[in-house]
Symmetry: none
Subunit: 225 residues, 2 copies
């Protein structure tokens, strides 16, 4: 299911956009302000973001720049302003497409598909590739190198490692890992422990004394930088 985040302050437009997109088969998240949208995208990233330009507080341009700072997500502007200057500014800020209200839903949907088709040819997983000493994570190639040798990881191990390596130096709670790796909203947190254990068997020189994937008691796990 493709998730779309709609950032739009006008309640009526937000609602009608949401309904239309849901009809097209998208999962829709919404936010009424840029702040809310940015927060939401950071917590639970959507696959595509629709954003209005005229927003209270942080405006659309700034919002796009903020999103682009650490996210390569496709961004589509939906705005009432049809001035060329606005269009150019939004695209320069990092937007991928720009539609003028009122939008035809069929067109919006087609443009989303075209954009996603193009975006998908990019990196498959969020983090590109990470080097942590002897351990190299090549997300695109779907491979992990330890001392230059490719490692045979299962999908779950791979995704777990990507998640941890992508936030090297930062503690991730079992709950966060469950949500991001397993996409579970709930579940047995011990599951994480088991897979961390299995992962350690493969990436640690001495699995009983983990160096690369350490546990932070009471908080979770992290990979030191």
């Amino acid at each position: 299911m493709v998730a779309v985040l709609v950032i739009e302050d006008d309640d009526r437009i937000r609602l009608s956009l949401s309904l239309a997109l849901e009809d097209e088969g998208y999962a829709v998240y919404t936010a009424a302000t840029a702040e809310e949208g940015l927060l939401r995208q950071r917590r639970e990233p959507a696959d595509t973001v629709l954003v209005d330009l005229m927003l209270p507080g942080i405006d659309g341009f700034q919002c796009i720049r903020e999103l682009r700072r650490d996210d390569d997500v496709p961004i589509v502007v939906v705005s009432a302003r049809e001035d060329t200057h606005d269009i150019v500014a939004a695209l320069e800020a990092g937007a991928d497409d720009y539609l003028v209200k009122p939008v035809a839903v069929k067109e919006l949907s087609a443009r989303l598909r075209a954009l996603r088709r193009r975006a998908r040819t990019g990196p498959a997983t969020p983090a590109g590739h990470q080097d942590l000493g002897d351990l190299k994570v090549r997300a695109q190639a779907g491979e992990v190198l330890l001392h230059g040798q490719p490692l045979a990881l299962t999908r779950t191990e791979f995704r777990l490692l990507c998640e941890l390596a992508g936030h090297a130096g930062q503690v991730l709670s079992r709950q966060q890992l469950l949500e991001r790796v397993w996409e579970y909203d709930f579940g047995d947190e011990r599951l994480v422990d088991v897979h961390v254990g299995r992962l350690r068997q493969k990436i640690e020189d001495d699995p009983a004394n983990p160096q690369r994937l350490v546990t932070v008691r009471g908080l979770g796990y992290k990979m030191p930088r």
Copy 2:
């Protein structure tokens, strides 16, 4: 220098677009018909293609499909028709963007930049020719050499191989392959498995132990660099 191919039958529009794009710093090739444009793109590929919808002979839609057959080049439609139906059809055919005439050059330029920014993150080599050890893929010539000997591949096998070889070192999911090789938006992913199996019979020395086309369990397939 970024090269743009403009396919447009109206002399005046073609000329003014060319001049405007040259002003923006693009190298511009032109073609007055789809046939001419396709030939030109095959001989000397541009980095982006602008195409009109109403062309004599092969029309714009068909032209887009032909281009897409063996090229991942960004395609922008510039048309006088502003009907949603046309827009959707063009995007579905494979276009990346759609502008309604008359176009503001600044906007066109900004959209080209946005599109190229997005497209560049994609495949490193569009559709040239790839050498992977003993296996040489000549996409343009439509032939594949194994140990210097030409291989007899079916069309599907050939396109599958081109797609994989064109992204050597990168995992492609079954879904991605379905979309790019079969142009299915959905469908049975097992179809990919079957054709990978058939392809292996032809390109692997020992099909039971694939070396050139390996499966990455849970993720998809890839050809190692």
